[in-house]
Amino acid sequence: MPGFLVRRSLTLLLTLVAASFLVFSITEFSPSNVARETLGAYALPEQVHLLYEKLQLGDPLLVRYVRWAGVLLGLRKDPLDNPALGLNIHDPKGPRYLGNFGYSTLFRVPVNQIIWNRLGNTAVLAGIAFAIIVPLSMLLGILAGMRPGSFLDRALSVASITMTSMPEYAIGVILAAIFAVWLKVLPGTSPLVGGTGWPLPSQFVLPVAVLVLYDSGYVARMVRASMIDVLNRPFVRTAILKGLPRRRVILRHALRNAMIAPFTVILLQINWLIGGVVVTETVFAYPGFGRMLLQASLFGDIALIEAATLIALVIAMATQLLSDIGYWLLDPQART
């Protein structure tokens, strides 16, 4: 492993710590709020005050952050997981273990019991979408980039600018109106449970379509731009003037270089998809990670918000690292 990747990992880790502190500051900036949200809407001011004292919420933000991180890393007990508080919060795995995200006040279970299941659902949704987006947009982008100005190129350009002008919920509403309301061939919601009269696979069609439509145009445009750029580079001219047939010029010389820039773009789509699923899942009532995050945010479920954001960050960081490694593999200049 080259030094630069080690450095990069360390930087990303530091960024992660800083970002988690930012999340912590946003959600727990106002300590009295923390106590109130934990107790729920009907708590009396005395109860709030008592919890405030017990949790030492009057301490500086940084101190509270370190405490919070201690719980997460399994170095401290979760202060809420204490029968004496009378909050009825109890984690079957015990109050202290590595990866303790705390207790969800919205779902009334430990965060770990809800979050991984939802993440799994989202992974399925995003995974299918990603598996379609990447080959589709690469193919379209390469074909359009090979002949700028051709019919395909113009069509792609119009389609992609239109699709990137549409928010996910707009696409969702339009698709649902057409396929669920008008044609009645697909379900308008995807709760992933039987009994709706729609087979499970059919429930994926519209959410996946929304993600694919919203993303493919953008990625295809990136690939196209990169392809055009590479085809104009002098080494492609060298290859042509060597007498290589056009097919070979494109396959052997242009493609690999054309993939270097979009590669990072494509991987960063994973990051982008995390945001996209929040909206898409909400449109289709899909029981995923994004919708859960939204519910938690609207409800004020601090532990769940922090946990979900942290996981989203870790995924984002992992993709960044992955894109660095891929870049390193694709581009020999990065290797020296």
């Binding site: 600018i161 002008s165 707009a170 509403v173 339009i174 008008w182 990136m222 609207l298």
Partner: protein, 300 residues
Amino acid sequence: MRPTPLHAPSDLAAGATIGVEEIATARPSLLKRLPSSGVAMTGLGIILFWVIVALIAPLLPLPSPTAQDYLAIAHPAPGLHHLLGVDPLGRDTLSRLVWGARVVLVVAPLSVLVAYIVGATMGLLAGFYPGFVDAVISRTSDVILAFPVVVLYVVLIAAVGASALNIVVAVVLASAPAVSRIVRGLAMQLARQDFVAAAHLRRETALFIMAIEILPNCRGPLITDFCLRLGYTVITIGTLGFLGLGIPPPSPDWGGMVQQATPMLTVFPEMALFPVIALVSLVLGFNLLADGLNELSRAD
């Protein structure tokens, strides 16, 4: 805005390929040559349509956007009294669209403008002072750019509460680092140009060099990015509204209108479609303008 890949030039993420030469030849007459681009003019036309609609909203013979017509709730479909129908609370859809344009056309440009002021300042400083200043600004930006952007918005707005001001603050927080990254890249290239060295040799201050020598030459790529970002901010505001985190009711908000109409989708799909069309057309206007400007700047 889309996340900017680390290795790809930042402009690639904005759908453009911008080289040093283009920065150097950025023409002041770009706006004058705008009419030669059909794409840009189409975009501008759509934007102007909405601007005019927003401006003359009080003059239009429309019911108040918050007035509830209880009689119409039972028959919300478009008709003579309500040209585009009413929403589930009996409020006139057309009026809400028109007044909603006012909201979005104030909040979006305002947030992007402030994001640009903050981001451009950060980017100029980072690009002009390599080393410590750059490291601090860039690392801070990295932290914010690490977030999936919708997640950041949701968490932020949910924590501070939904209001027009908070939306502006959230957009600035999320966009300024991205603007900063673009400006930093441009500023670093420009700071190495000889005309900047020449400015040093006549004892210009750092502020003068950043603001007068460097910043104006960033305008080509920045104008395009500004338009794209406006479009994306309109999407963001709509998305927040749709998620229930937008400008609080009863203010007319396009995203919120879609949200309120979604449960009625099976019965009255047009109730959701009208605000969707309004929003998409405005975003399309900004994106077409950006695309046209980009084509123009590359045609040099």
